[in-house]
């Protein structure tokens, strides 16, 4: 059942939220040992929430648009009293004293949180192999990675553990695992979804968004979690665009551009072929499709791997063994902090902290960080030029289908290249989403990315709905 079907049935009193929860917990019990989507399943908490939803329905109240819908939460979103680890040893055992705004809004809409999902440590990675608690496996082929960093949330939805989940996307961490796991994943416009309670990685890039099996479910979750929040100073003063009411609008007259720079070198031919097939499907539905050059996106990776580590090095300075999480005792406070951070962080996190510290240090700041910020302007400028002629853009989400464990762990740069098509959107602060469209020669899902300008969610979801229908028809 989709989230919408569950909520409709629960609100109408046809199904109980507890019964729905039990069905999903059974699926988790069967396959979770093999998949490892979760760092923690909060069964008792979920059961109490579901019972409260049922009680509300029995009392004639409406629990909300996600009534009784089981949801999985990425383990970098704070949940009050429930361990929140970022898949890092340094936060092991920490229980946040507050909920992230998105968690509060899901609960207020009647959703039933069932657990915290695995991720690359502090959301740094593209395969979930950087988790301190072991990798998540791709439900379509357990010898392959689920993508990352929100690999647990993508796998939970792909395995049917929950119909929807939340992830965070700093450089592709929702869209790339969505593509590799064959589900829908949305990175909303920067500022549309509150970051309050999202444990910070790259503050000018981070954005929370949903995974779902359908475009309509993803739209619904966006509308529930989005909108202004006084707790986030970068929150835009408006509601999430009303995307649900436009899902049946079609794409007649929509102007669609295929990003030339994202279709060539480094992209598997079978993936590029699916993007062209998706473009054909949009054209058949009445859109106009052309190729468009967005030259500066080719510099996205270089800019991102200076900006994101710079912000991370600052954000992760707070893990010092004093206020939360783990501590390694030592004779002095300085030694305690060094011992705690050395033992608590994994290699990828250390790599990015050191890189960020380096590019922000005296003598290198202008050359590296300053240059990267100027390139951000170029990327946004080139996107803006493209969006004068096009409503949405198309590209691959990930250059390949899901790869094998260990394939890219030896060379950090090889891993970073997974995000070459997703990173430019975060640098620009724009919106993008991944929709499953066909499979590769290995039988694994391929995702097509729909990119939109800031607040371009309505045309983006219109195109997504048409692609979803076309992909279903092709099977």
């Amino acid at each position: 059942m989709t989230a919408r079907e569950i909520a409709n049935a629960v609100r109408a009193g046809e199904r109980s939220a507890v019964e729905i929860l039990d069905e999903h917990l059974r699926r988790i019990a069967e396959r979770e040992p093999e998949i490892h989507a979760f760092n923690l399943v909060t069964e008792d908490h979920a059961r109490a929430t579901a019972a409260a939803v049922d009680a509300a329905v029995a009392a004639g109240q409406d629990p909300g648009p996600l009534a009784g819908v089981p949801v999985a939460i990425k383990d970098n979103l704070c949940t009050r009293g429930i361990p929140t680890t970022c898949s890092s040893k340094i936060l092991d055992g920490w229980r946040p004293p507050y909920d992230a705004t998105v968690v509060t809004r899901l609960a207020a809409a009647g959703a039933v949180a069932v657990g915290k999902t695995n991720l690359d440590e502090f959301a740094m990675g593209s395969s979930t192999e950087n988790s301190a608690f072991g990798p998540t496996r791709n439900p379509h082929d357990t010898t392959r990675v689920p993508g990352g960093s929100s690999g647990g949330s993508a796998a939970a939805v792909a395995a049917g553990f929950t119909p929807i989940s939340l992830g965070s996307d700093t450089g592709g961490s929702i869209r790339q695992p969505a593509a590799l796991c064959g589900v829908v994943g949305v990175k909303p416009t920067y500022g549309l979804v509150s970051r309050f309670g999202l444990i910070a990685f790259g503050s000018s890039l981070d954005q929370v968004g949903p995974f779902a099996t359908t475009v309509a479910d993803a739209a619904l979750v966006c509308e529930v979690i989005g909108g202004h929040d006084a707790g986030d100073s970068t929150s835009l003063p408006q509601a999430f665009p009303a995307v649900s009411e436009h899902l049946d609008d079609g794409v007649s007259g929509l102007r669609v551009g295929i990003v030339t720079e994202m279709m060539g070198e480094g992209i598997a031919p079978e993936v590029a072929a699916q993007v062209r097939a998706a473009a054909d499907a949009l054209a058949a539905a009445g859109a106009t499709v052309e190729e468009v050059s967005v030259p500066a996106v080719t510099y996205g990776l270089s800019s991102y791997y200076l900006v994101a580590p710079a912000e991370a090095s600052s954000n992760l300075a707070r893990y010092d063994g004093v206020r939360f999480g783990q501590r390694v005792e030592a004779a002095t406070t300085g030694e305690m902090m060094t011992a705690t951070r050395t033992a608590g962080f994994g290699d990828e996190v250390k790599r990015r902290i050191m890189l960020g510290t380096f590019v922000l240090s005296a003598g290198y700041y202008d050359a590296f960080y300053g240059t990267a910020l100027k390139v951000r302007t170029l990327i946004r400028r080139d996107f803006d030029a493209a969006y004068e002629k096009f409503d949405v853009l198309l590209s691959p989400t990930s250059p390949t289908t899901a790869f094998a464990f260990g394939d890219k762990t030896a060379d950090p740069l090889a891993m970073y290249l997974n995000d070459v098509c997703t990173i430019p959107t975060n640098l620009a602060g724009h919106a993008a989403m991944s929709v499953p469209f066909g499979v590769g020669a290995d039988g694994l899902p391929i995702g097509v990315q729909i990119l939109a300008p800031a607040l371009g969610e309505v045309p983006m979801f219109r195109a997504a709905a048409v692609l979803e229908a076309a992909a279903g028809g092709a099977k």
Binding site: T342, G429, A454
Partner: protein, 100 residues
């Protein structure tokens, strides 16, 4: 920006970031960081003279909330998750005399 990072640079950066590296880690990380920085040679070659830097997607503006007291975090709940709470405070080892 063509200068590459050396083991001396990485030693310094690790100290600033409060990370301790073994000699072997120092070699490996230096090589990897040099590789990532080398990738940025493409943007170092651009003429960016008249380009403004973009630090964030949304311009910074002062944000004020209504001057109404909110609900503060529960102190016991906060302290319960601290590594070494003591009398509602965070206990740390000796600070005076620290090399830092």
């Amino acid at each position: 920006m063509t200068e590459r990072i050396t083991t001396d640079d990485v030693t310094k950066v690790a100290r600033l970031a409060r990370l301790e590296l073994s000699n072997e880690e120092l070699e490996v990380f230096t090589g990897q960081l040099a590789g990532i920085l080398a990738h940025a040679d493409d943007i170092a070659a651009l003429d960016l003279t008249d380009v403004e830097p973009m630090a964030r997607p949304v311009p910074l503006v002062n944000v004020f909330r209504a001057d109404v007291p909110g609900e503060p975090l529960d102190r016991d709940e906060v302290m319960a998750s601290a590594p070494a709470p003591e009398d509602g405070q965070f206990r740390v080892p000796q600070i005076l005399g620290d090399e830092a």
